[in-house]
């Protein structure tokens, strides 16, 4: 995914860069060095006018004594023209020198265009930063909305919150209807799971109506949001009733937060799902794209989980609440990149993310992409300005950026990440429907069902 992502963003960003190339970039003023051109400068010295010798008179075009006023005027005009030319020549020299300096000037950072709508991103970043610093309580709902709203300013929080509240309400009513003890975590989780995977009919006393909800299905079209990034969003899922492996687990967690249930996000290659603990301390996996309870074995069957990845806990590990917020930050950066390309904002996001979660795979991936893009941006400048390859190779700053790119990729490899092709991913998701996995699901439902406390 890294490679394809890189290729894709590379086209995107280079495109953005050419657009941004027309925006005037302020260049630091460089002092003009006169001593570089001494022979030409001497000519501007107009001393000894009072005692003109013949050669000086020729050089400086001084009219001979006794010249008529008409002649003197012509001489003066000629002199003025000569002076203007000298000034122009001088200016050209300065311009040439500045041009030469500009030609070797390389930007080691991406240009940053200060667009007013980016403020939504800065607000979201500042909010997430406060949460991660502990200055704001963890509120996943707010975090997710901030991220989605930054990308799509047309979203409305009241609507978002209302839709979420409706879902939580149905879950509460369903629990009452099934006489599930309101404090039972497994009961809450299994009911939320049913809300997402089943058709529910509940009666609401307050409105005196029967509410019917339908399963939230998997949206197979553009499930990685490559064409339309809105496909990744919980707001899209709530509106359309279908989502994918990013929005479904996140929606599940938001509902859990509303009804005060305890469940966690977890990752597999290119995938996220839900983990929760039962009363005996055993972990269970909820696969929302297939609406199934799956085994760890199913997760590793994709063939793209290395032992190192499990040891470093980048996959199959329940994220803490804070790590989940870090993931929102990674989502924020990804959306920003989709919209505006790479710049210092992306760097700020990954720095904050890695600071709060050393082994956040997404943060390290974005970081690696950032440096790879920056490296190719510098190479692009060298190429465009026609500077020699040797100069690039001797450029210490460029080298350190290129080293950062290599280092970031090595780090990801050490974490145990391997690239998983899209067709393998699809085949793996479908393999959840094998008879063995279905049996496993039924068994788990039975075991967990037996644990639910009834009033």
């Amino acid at each position: 995914m890294l490679v394809t992502k890189f290729m894709y963003t590379s086209i995107l960003t280079l495109h953005i860069l050419t657009v941004q190339g027309q925006v005037p970039v302020s260049v630091e003023p460089k002092p003009f060095q006169f001593d570089v051109y001494p022979d030409k400068v001497v000519k501007f010295n107009t001393g000894q006018v009072n005692n003109p010798s013949a050669s000086i008179m020729a050089t400086y075009n001084i009219p001979p004594a006794g010249a008529s006023s008409e002649e003197q005027r012509r001489y003066a005009e000629k002199d003025i023209r000569r002076y203007d030319m000298q000034i122009a020549q001088k200016q050209k020299l300065i311009d040439d020198a500045n041009g030469a300096l500009e030609a070797v000037h390389i930007d080691y950072e991406f240009p940053f265009s200060d667009l007013p709508e980016k403020n939504l991103y800065f607000d979201a970043f500042n909010y997430l930063k406060k949460v991660l610093n502990g200055d704001e309580p963890i509120n996943l709902e707010a975090a997710v909305f901030f991220v989605e709203h930054a990308y799509n300013p047309s979203l409305n929080y009241n609507e978002f919150s209302k839709l979420l509240g409706n879902g939580a309400n149905v879950i509460g009513l369903k629990m009452q209807q099934d006489k599930i003890s309101p404090d039972d975590n497994i009961g809450k989780i299994m009911t939320t799971f049913r809300f997402l995977s089943d058709t529910l009919k509940v009666y609401s006393k307050s409105t005196e109506t029967t509410i019917t909800t339908y399963p939230k299905t998997y949206d197979f079209e553009d499930f990685w949001g490559r064409k339309d990034y809105n496909k990744m969003f919980v707001s899209k899922l709530m509106k359309e009733g279908s989502g994918q492996c990013h929005s479904l687990p996140l929606y599940f967690l938001l509902l859990c937060e509303r009804i005060n249930a305890d469940a966690s996000l977890a990752f597999a290659p290119n995938h996220s799902f839900i983990k929760f603990k039962d009363k005996r301390g055993n972990w269970h996996n909820l696969e929302l794209t297939n609406a199934m309870l799956t085994s760890d074995h199913f997760m590793v069957e994709s063939g793209y989980i290395k032992a190192e990845a499990i040891q470093n806990r980048i996959y199959l590990e329940a994220l803490t609440k804070k790590q989940t917020i870090v993931q929102c930050l990674n989502d924020l950066a990804s959306g920003y990149i989709k919209k505006y390309g790479y710049d210092s904002f992306v760097k700020a996001c990954t720095e904050l993310a890695i600071e709060n979660d050393m082994n956040s795979l997404s943060a390290h991936q974005i970081n690696a992409n950032y440096y790879m893009m920056l490296d190719s941006y510098i190479k692009y400048q060298y190429e465009k300005k026609g500077i020699s390859k040797e100069a690039y190779q001797q450029d210490e700053k460029a080298k350190s950026i290129s080293d950062s790119a290599t280092g970031a990729n090595k780090f990801i490899e050490r974490l145990g990440y391997t690239d998983m092709p899209q067709d393998v991913y699809e085949a793996w998701l479908k393999s959840a429907q094998t008879e063995a996995n279905k049996q496993q699901h039924k068994k788990e439902v039975k075991v967990l069902g037996g644990m639910i406390e009834i009033k």
Binding site: G303, A307, E308, I310, Q311
Partner: protein, 357 residues
């Protein structure tokens, strides 16, 4: 009566001699662990097997045999040209050479006509856990019979790699040991000598007995350091001792081996199990001695209670680490699954790299 006394004395003397071999082996392995001796996996394997064989093995002979194989590997590595162009190509060639020597039939021409050939080392399905004959686990047995198991085959691979000056790492799976190697372009990959394949990690986890926490806690599928590999030999030493002497074993010796090994390799599940089993046997013996019917009968003494509790907590700890007992027949079916499900479990890149000339 006289005869009986003599008999007992005789057994005692044999025991003393054998115990001395074990003490010597123990102190040599201990020396490697506490840095007073330089670490040599080859030597550690030898002393472990030699102690079981009552000092009847010759280190010179062993070395000679290993030397011969090492020279063959060097020859092979010069002849092969893998489809690999990383900076560590020479290492990869050596890895491939050892693999070829151990799994393939090869001919070495000394001139146009004369050649000698090597045949692959095969998996010995009979008594593969060494229950009937512990020597089935030995590298010396593998060298002489050309058949081995998941213990001796990776051990030999590691020894040969060390002789060729490249690093090979042992890694653990339930009832199983395999080799992990690293190269620049592919990162970590597995080498399975019992079948001659390069399986992906999913195969190892597919046995169904690798609990997720066992991988997280580095009980399984992690590379063993040099000292951890020596700790493995130490547990082999203790196990061999127990197999040899059965009920007559000095349990203090076994416990001593376990404790030292676990100091350097705390999550070594075989070491933890052996220690817990040893405690259990000591406790059971004590029950017999005191004619107790239930464990709780011994709880009247504080030592009895605390001993039982520590034994219990060891078993709980082993479970928490993620260990699940794997039945023998499950193990065999899993081993052969690699062949049946090649498409699914074989690392194609590495397999291609090694099968090309």
């Amino acid at each position: 009566m006289k005869k009986v006394v003599l008999y007992i004395l005789l057994i005692g003397s044999i025991n003393c001699f054998a115990q001395e071999q074990y003490d010597l082996a123990f102190s040599e392995l201990k020396g490697m662990l506490n840095d007073s001796l330089s670490i040599s996996f080859k030597r550690a394997v030898f002393v472990t097997e030699n102690a079981y064989s009552d000092n009847q093995l010759s280190y010179e002979g062993f070395n000679e045999h290993i030397g011969l194989l090492t020279r063959s590997c060097s020859l092979i590595s010069k002849q092969i040209e893998p489809l690999y162009n990383g900076r560590d190509k020479e290492n990869v060639k050596k890895y491939a050479a050892v693999f070829k020597l151990m799994t393939d039939t090869l001919k070495f021409y000394q001139n146009e006509k004369d050649y000698y050939s090597t045949i692959p080392y095969m998996y010995d399905f009979d008594d593969f856990l060494g229950d009937k004959d512990w020597r089935k686990m030995f590298v010396t047995k593998l060298l002489t019979t050309h058949t081995g198991n998941c213990h001796s085959l990776p051990f030999l691979y590691k020894i040969l790699c060390k002789e060729l000056d490249v690093k090979a790492y042992l890694a653990m799976a339930p009832n199983h040991t395999y080799i992990k190697l690293w190269c620049e372009k592919m990162g970590w990959y597995n080498t399975e000598l019992t079948s001659g394949y390069f399986p992906i990690d999913a195969w190892i986890m597919a046995s169904g007995y690798v609990h997720l926490s066992a991988v997280q806690n580095r009980v399984y599928m992690d590379t063993l350091s040099d000292k951890q590999s020596i700790a493995v030999c130490l547990i082999d030493l203790a196990k061999g001792y127990e197999k040899k002497y059965g009920d007559k074993s000095n349990y203090n010796f076994i416990a001593m081996c376990c404790n030292l090994a676990l100091k350097y390799y705390p999550q070594y599940v075989n070491g933890l199990l052996l220690k817990a089993e040893t405690y259990k046997k000591v406790f059971q013996n004590e029950m017999v001695r005191q004619k107790a019917e239930y464990p709780s009968d011994l709880f009247s003494s504080p030592e009895g209670k605390s001993f039982f509790d520590s034994m219990q907590s060891q078993y709980v700890y082993i479970h928490q680490l993620g260990y699940r007992k794997m039945p023998d027949e499950m193990y065999l079916s899993w081993l052969t699954e690699l062949k049946r499900e090649r498409e699914k479990y074989v690392n194609k890149k590495i397999q291609d790299l090694n099968s090309s000339k």
